[in-house]
Chain length 335, copies 2
DNA sequence: GTTTAGCACTCTCTGAGCATGAGTGCTAAG
DNA sequence: CTTAGCACTCATGCTCAGAGAGTGCTAAAC
């Protein structure tokens, strides 16, 4: 794999990313200053195909990068791109708002990323389960309804409306909340459920009403409510590889399914990750690549961010954007 | 417009809705018991075309209903369909849950309708602006953050996180909330804004801290946050008229835009409304029909519900579903 | 030994020409 | 008024040939 092969591979992938058309030797020689004739390039291309970096749709077409080719491009060739000033400013200013609910951040981030990259983007909130309880309050909503406000170590606020069997007056609610906070501050939410529900611990006897409330919450809590935000799904329609409605259905269907969320969350490694085509071994997105990143909230609890596009994605641009946004988000969520 | 013409029109539209193919006289004679020969049907079809109810894609194709044809079908011919037991039960049980946030109802409704109809569905919440204040509480989230919980006459709860300049202790917050509720109970939200912001009214002087908070809210309140839910957009891909990616883009783009929300909300008339093709005079959905319905919350504050599909929509089925769901939703939201 | 010009070859794509078939409108007979 | 018969129209699908893009190979040039 000498320098010229890398040059040819780079030029070819750049061109294919730009045009979505198989690239021939003549095109390459004309558009890029490689200093050699088409015939030489043809030889190099044949070698690159033998090495598995390129593929030929059919005998008389140009070459197209293979998954392996993209992988080499991403890992070894590609230079990181510097975002221009306007984009950096846009990212800096994206989170200047008064509100602070988690779902707003999630939503805003997804929108920002999809608008900058021109690909669909999915943002997954850090799982509440793993966060620790900081503070709990109840607000009576009259009759038999109580709003539970839960502040967790993710710095975010979870609201949940509960039905309670009897009417609690606001003093009673306040003292319940205080007791509860006192007792369980710092305990992880999932652990909290066990603690409250476990009859062997003394808590049940000491807080019968709490037990009632908590039980309602545990059973009524359907994990994924607000925790995911998808933005710009229609961006996918701009790319010619998705002319076919079947493909659109598969890809957008994938983004709406649980699978996408799981996939985004599976990449535990911090920082920016790239998955190219068949590397994901998921049928629905064989023709797609995805770029994921993690972000931190306060300590080490992490959320995930994902961009999905055609295999000929603008990897360097997307990676830069995703990195900048996740950094900014982590920064903003640190307080 | 005699009885037989209506029969022919009905059969033709039924067939076209089922197949999406232009319908010929022979098909009609064979599949539907009209008791006459293709030739007779041809004559009737020619008449129906003269009357503007049918159109011919080209000379040697069958006929296709025009907007006017669908309109006549919907208004005069079509018989309401009775939903089967399973569907009725599904609708009845859709809202049995412990949670009570408005956005949950919106979301749930959109999903329910799109799953039953197999078309995309959009649900718009009643505008908070027009609801009256019932009750307000503040919950300190520590530092400079306060959660404002607003109970309105829509029976729903709005949460909003506010940044406040100074730290309020919980007693202070409670008394503020009590004063506020006392003063403004029953006032409409939009009126509330005026009342608080108008320096001519005495309120500003009496509640300087409140004024601060309220100002934050008024400026930070970005209307449409949670108020709309779109479900099942990909259903549109199942219909052959949307084989073309361009059309998909236009229709799904429409559903993501403000226009869709405005359109849904424009139909003030209560009950189920149908808009067929060009009747909407919106370029993006010339090939679509939509069925809208309103629902009530408590008194007369209304939200909107919309189903969008190809012009050859299953009007009677969709209308029945939309009616049943909006009734059920109104019923559930009455308490 | 590497590079390149030349050339035959392969394969897709496009458009023309043609047959097919569905469906119509018209006419005349029932 | 209905219907059988028939000529006519037009989209669709098929084949086939030509064009064009691109390759691989060979042999000459550097």
């Amino acid at each position: 794999m000498d320098a010229r092969k890398r040059q040819v591979l780079e030029a070819l992938i750049d061109d294919y990313i730009a045009t979505a058309e198989p690239v021939g030797s003549r095109t390459l020689a004309k558009k890029y200053r490689l200093g050699v004739s088409p015939a030489t390039i043809r030889n190099e291309m044949a070698d690159l195909e033998d090495l598995g970096f390129l593929e030929q749709p059919h005998t008389s077409a140009g070459r197209v990068p293979s998954d392996k080719g993209y992988r080499y491009y991403v890992d070894e060739i590609m230079r990181p791109v510097v975002l221009d000033l306007a984009e950096r400013q846009r990212i800096r200013q994206a989170y200047q708002a008064r509100v602070r609910e988690l779902h707003w951040f999630i939503h805003q981030t997804a929108r920002l990323v999809s608008e900058l990259t021109l690909y669909p983007s999915l943002v997954v909130a850090p799982p509440v389960e793993q966060a620790a309880l900081i503070d709990l309050s109840f607000v009576s909503l009259g009759q038999d309804t109580v709003l539970m406000v839960l502040k967790t170590s993710t710095g975010m606020v979870e609201n949940q409306t509960l039905l309670v069997p009897e009417e609690f007056d606001s003093d009673k609610l306040r003292s319940l909340a205080e007791d509860f906070t006192q007792e369980f501050r710092g305990v992880a939410i999932h652990e909290l459920k066990n603690r409250i529900l476990d009859p062997l611990q003394g808590d049940v006897k000491r807080y019968p009403e709490l037990w009632q409330l908590a039980l309602k919450w545990v059973t009524g809590h359907d994990g994924d409510e607000d925790k995911v935000s998808l933005a710009g799904p229609l961006n996918i329609l701009n790319y010619p590889e998705f002319r076919d409605v079947e493909k659109v259905r598969r890809v957008l269907g994938f983004l709406e399914k649980e699978t996408a969320v799981e996939l985004a969350s599976r990449h535990y490694a911090e920082g920016v990750q790239v998955v190219i085509g068949a590397e994901s071994s998921l049928d629905d997105i064989q023709d797609c690549s995805l770029v994921t990143a993690t972000y931190r909230v306060g300590g080490n609890v992490v959320g995930h961010l994902m961009v999905l596009g055609p295999r000929r994605m603008h990897y360097n641009r997307v990676m830069s954007i995703v990195e900048a946004v996740s950094d900014e988000l982590s920064r903003v969520l640190h307080g």
